[in-house]
Amino acid sequence: MGLIDWAREATLSVMRHPGRALMTAVGTVLGAVAFVATLGISSTISQQVSSSFDIRRATEVVVSPQSKGLDIRWQDAESLTRLRGLNGVVDAGSRISLGEQPIARGLGAPTSPFAVFGVDPGALAAIEPRLTVGRSFDAFHESRGANVVLLSQPVADSLGITRVGAAVFIHDRAFTVMGIFYDVGRRQDSLTGALMPASTAEILLESYRQGAEEDANREVLIRTSPGAAQLIGSQAATALHPESPQDLRVVAPPDPRQLRREVEGNVALSTVLLSIVALAVGAVTIANAAAASVTTRVAEIGLRRALGARPSHIFAQLVGETTVLGTIGGAVGVLIGVATVATVSIVNRWSPVLDMRAAMIAVAASAATGLVAGLWPAARAIRIQPVSALQR
């Protein structure tokens, strides 16, 4: 009796009752579904996360001084020119954060505190504000220290400003609203404040500071080309402040590939645990059903023995049947799992990411579960004597 005969006998016996076989194999079906679907969905989502991540956040690098006392020459024009020379820098410039400042609709009108940022043209290009009305200020305004602002939508709404050209007052100084923006590409904290030219911000800071210690936060903001953030992150401090780069702190986004691996690693562990539990349930179900079938198939087993089957043939037959059951369960589970991943992806307009190795592992693990589950019923079956067939 060859391997093909063995596989054929096992399959024929299992397929005698296909519905019952599927019910018996439901545990391995669930195990395979859990394995393939959760792994597939997690890969799909993490792929999705990192692809949207790449476009925006992963191209943002921020450099700030380790302590406030650092000489501001690290962000002067010469330093920024060196920085812009790095391969992978798209835009770079200085941003000064004045913190919350009182802004009023008219002179003497009630004020509300909003975050105010001074940005030079390079930083403004890196922030990429998206305007609903008006336009951005530029190098001309920067060179003149012009009193112009861009208001974020929440600030404009709060002050009741809907059009450009309106005046707002900050520390009793009048500013012309050049535009209103609803979104930014980088530096999300800008979304709740006002932007003005960096030179204007320096003047404003000087006017209300009046000799007190400076509490503004200075930083250099860099927009990198996709995938270059890690590299720029490692080079920016040296480019800006070659004398002692350790005085600068560089915040670059985590490597998206690393992030993806971590996310997938966590999901993979819980998936494997979940699948093992489901397969264990599957093994018990199959073992139970196979043991019950041995009781109802005493005559058939006796007949096979009478026809010359050795106990090892009977053992192989029973184990073969449960292995086939496990394999069928695994294959059905993989199909359902793949369909689940595909459906979730289609509904969310994602690109499904499926690892064929996961599918093969699921089928192999289900087959192994079936094999293990068959050992005990098979050991019972070989004790059936051929004379049993004659008595029935």
Binding site: M1, I4, D5, E9, L12, S13, M15, R16, H17, A299, E300, L303, R304, R305, A306, L307, G308, A309, R310, P311, H313, Q385, P386, V387, A389, L390, R392
Partner: protein
């Protein structure tokens, strides 16, 4: 060919039951033997021992001068598969398989290749007059046809001896006649046949008629 010398079988379930008293019996290669007796007389025990389905408690059983008592079940199983064919009252055809596949099952554990098995199965179905039902589901056959399939399965691998345990027990008289004719033809072709029955007309077919009463075997 088959030689029982002083063979007995005792079942010991607390108090011993002598299913077969010490028996001497010789069966020749071309015998047609029928064994009759009331229920529980020991005729099935005799058949089981002859067919290597059960081992005697005492005595010697030789097949072609080879001693079979004391052999391991694996060896007895191999000998059973090579030398004997079995036909049961309940047919024991497997559902979900065609008639020809059921016949092939008789050779599954032998040395034949799949192609040889199919060829032999088709030949033997032709022999029992059922080649037109080769691809049918056994459940669609009449009782007589099912028993002929079972006989085909039993003789497919050309056994030395065909053992039949109440082969007509589930059949009406017309089907009984067909099956008995088939057994007689097989015997004529050189097949040794041993039939256990409690039906007088079946017993009358045998060239040799044995009777078992309370475990004692006698020749009629």
């Amino acid at each position: 060919m088959l030689e029982l010398t002083g063979v007995s079988r005792t079942y010991d379930d607390g108090h011993p039951v002598h299913a077969l008293r010490p028996t001497n019996l010789h069966i020749a290669p071309n015998d047609y033997v029928t064994i009759t007796g009331p229920s529980g007389s020991g005729k099935s025990t005799l058949l089981n021992i002859l067919g290597l389905l059960d081992a005697p408690s005492n005595g010697s059983y030789r097949i072609n001068d080879v001693e079979m008592t004391g052999l391991r079940e694996t060896t007895r199983g191999a000998a059973r598969g090579q030398l004997f064919g079995f036909v049961f009252q309940a047919f024991h055809l497997l559902s979900g398989r065609t008639v020809v596949e059921n016949v092939e099952l008789g050779m599954l554990y032998g040395p034949q290749t799949r192609r040889e098995r199919r060829r032999r199965a088709e030949e033997v179905l032709e022999r029992v007059g059922l080649s037109h039902r080769a691809t049918a589901d056994p459940r669609t056959l009449s009782g007589g046809e099912r028993q002929r399939v079972a006989i085909a399965r039993a003789v497919a691998y050309r056994p030395r001896v065909l053992f039949c345990d109440e082969p007509t027990g589930n059949l009406d008289s017309a089907n009984t006649t067909t099956v008995l004719e088939l057994l007689r033809e097989l015997h004529t072709e050189g097949q040794a046949v041993i039939v256990v029955t409690h039906e007088a007309n079946v017993a009358a077919q045998g060239a040799r008629r044995l009777r078992v009463d309370d475990g004692v075997v006698s020749e009629e």
